[in-house]
Symmetry: C2
Subunit: 476 residues, 2 copies
Amino acid sequence: MANAYDTQAPVRFTGRLLLLGYGCIGRGVLPLLLRHVDMVPGQITILAAAEVRDDSRLALGVPLRVATLTRDNYQDILAEELGPGDFLLNLSINVSSLDLIAWCQEHGVLYLDACIEPWAGVYTDPKLPPSERSNYMLRELAHGLRLPGVRPTAVLTHGVNPGLVSHFVKRALLDIAAAVLPEGEWQEPHDRAGWAALAQRLKIRTIHIAERDTQVPVVPKQPGEFVNTWSVDAFAAEGRQPAELGWGSHERHWPADAHRHGYGCDATIYLDRPGMAVRVRSWTPREGAYHGFLVTHGEAITITNFLTVKEGEHVVYRPTVHYAYHPCDAAVLSQHELEGKGWQLQARRRALGPNDIAGGMDELGVLLGGHARNAYWFGSRLTIEEARTLCPSNNATSLQTAAGVLGGVVWAMRHPQAGIVDPDDMDWREVLAVASPYLGELIGEFTDWNPLQGRGALFPEDLDREDPWQFKNVRV
Amino acid sequence: MANAYDTQAPVRFTGRLLLLGYGCIGRGVLPLLLRHVDMVPGQITILAAAEVRDDSRLALGVPLRVATLTRDNYQDILAEELGPGDFLLNLSINVSSLDLIAWCQEHGVLYLDACIEPWAGVYTDPKLPPSERSNYMLRELAHGLRLPGVRPTAVLTHGVNPGLVSHFVKRALLDIAAAVLPEGEWQEPHDRAGWAALAQRLKIRTIHIAERDTQVPVVPKQPGEFVNTWSVDAFAAEGRQPAELGWGSHERHWPADAHRHGYGCDATIYLDRPGMAVRVRSWTPREGAYHGFLVTHGEAITITNFLTVKEGEHVVYRPTVHYAYHPCDAAVLSQHELEGKGWQLQARRRALGPNDIAGGMDELGVLLGGHARNAYWFGSRLTIEEARTLCPSNNATSLQTAAGVLGGVVWAMRHPQAGIVDPDDMDWREVLAVASPYLGELIGEFTDWNPLQGRGALFPEDLDREDPWQFKNVRV
């Protein structure tokens, strides 16, 4: 992964940075910011809903202000902490990203989040139709916040996924091209249309964000407890949003529970059920075949949209894109329990810190299927031991995300007038150069696996044997 | 549970007893036999496929013969070990119960098993149609082995489930009757027709064998490993058989993947998929609502058949009966992994012995729904600590099963000329009197839970709101 950016000096930042939210990702990213951005702890303020006991923050000398942002107070509080040229790093949940972005665009403040969040309660408000609980709508609204003229950079959804996986997709497309296209008859694209044309030329049908987290807690999950390697509240919230996926132009079996939104870019569809209740077949190099959850994520929308080829208004090429998430085993059990109890979240919730984990790794990448070499996975393999060594406030999952946040923050500081951008709009090499040192092994591997393997042996199954990469075959 | 049998002397047995198979249940039941049957260790021989290091057997002085029974050798080996008046206690897997029963019926040998097993490979032979991999067919064939005249007792499928749960159902019917019928206007039935008429009068629509095993291993499940609280091979085999359920006369939504067998008693149907892939909603008192697996089990057939009311050939009443199994968490994860790998059983398998378990219990009973008090659960709650105290070679799961085996063996010895019987044909009080000391707490509890609770809140669901106890509502 050596490239021109590796040797760049740390970016210099002279403004104030407000770190909103101090959960596992906030704690994970704080030391990285001070390592890779030329700034001092006194430039940073943490704003969190509650006091957090955290030795590394105290050692760094970063102040923490306790306040809960609400619809009523957010403008006042932001105005106290931020002004033109400053940075709002939003790693909170239950605070409206849209309101924050609009404020930052108006006030000349740089912005980055790892997820476009609504105010509390929206994801699980049964009075709202599913489309209004979707990430699709949140992204449409975020893009609708664009104002005329040169505006400060606001990076949407830039952790690891969503975030770095958009860059993994580009790297994977280049690797596949190098393997299947004649030398000299292709080159690295330099714009969106070029990337989409390359994906079309390679016949990429399906892109899974294929993740297998094998981290194991020291103390096993107890009955009535939700255990995860990152925020339980955030995972349980997104897991109960509608399942969303980019709907490829090759798909010929419309799911019975699927709907189009009827507005906006139309890249994705949603299913009339919680993502945590939709299982899909996928593959990672170390795990092999597995069942993951089709939890909605921003990357399913941005990657799909980015790689779409249109002739006029007509879509002539589009891949199917979605998450295939195998969280840590304790979270699989927590999900099973949660679903069994009618989606009423467990009273006890435990996000595993770096020292609560006995072993395991997070294997997180993108699987591109349908091309001449069948399928190719590219991604990160980071063990808990490595994560602790690289940055002690992290487990493997939080460090992958923190690496994405770091990469995005540095990019935003280097490109402070880019306006509102998706991860896919950024230079993949530039971002990965910053993030890669924290991603463990970066691996690319071709595979013969497809979702028809071993199917229909013991019992008849309704399959499309003509095209392995139909979503109908992928869905469990 | 006090009754006339509590104070009975141990049954006297003077013949030889061949214990075929020495897995977790064989090891669990051996000391119980010597406690509750008036016999000496020298009357027992263990026949197992491999030498088993087992201090308790050695201390008891019970010999073990190593041999694998096959189609070719079973008659010779049985003839060496057994003759008229002896007992074949079959706790093996991959040996044909049908061939053993036929041999015992011919040779005057008593018999009991905890599952009607075929020779190895049948359950997962893709060349066999699903009906020929069903428990339904095995039971039909077993009943077809009846010979004319007085014949030795052969108890089919008598562990805890199948086995004791048939007796729990009778106890539950009496408890419900006492709660909802006017005093003096009903009495305990004395034959099959009477029990079926009582179930019909009480309007029992659905009977779940509702089990939640919360036992936790000391060493967590590792990737590529199947962990269970009893035989992994046996669970993985039955879990890949077709899902089977008694199909109640109230059901009005025929499952798209369901089939009738087209022969025999017709009490049950099967689904065109492995039981481990079919999840159902159920409830136990301590767990509350949960999702379990509809794994095929003999009791789904015998209870359904036993409680059917016919007028001529026409079924006028029948409950829906099936298993709703929440195995221990490590087994839930093992199943998730197994399914993700296309039902190819993990190379590493671990059945947890009594000292491999850090805590938890097995809560196993029957849930009868649809009557005037909604639903009632009756069953056993046995913790790992209690199990170890009661009989150190057991965990909670194996002791519940061993208690059922013990109760069935004692019953068979007391009634040696009953021919081939289902658990439902036996006196429930007599059997439970023997088994109960090993079942921990026996609990009965009414509940307001039904499978419509909390449904359709976040997303529309296709439900039958008129009748909660439709299988359509129960299935996930």
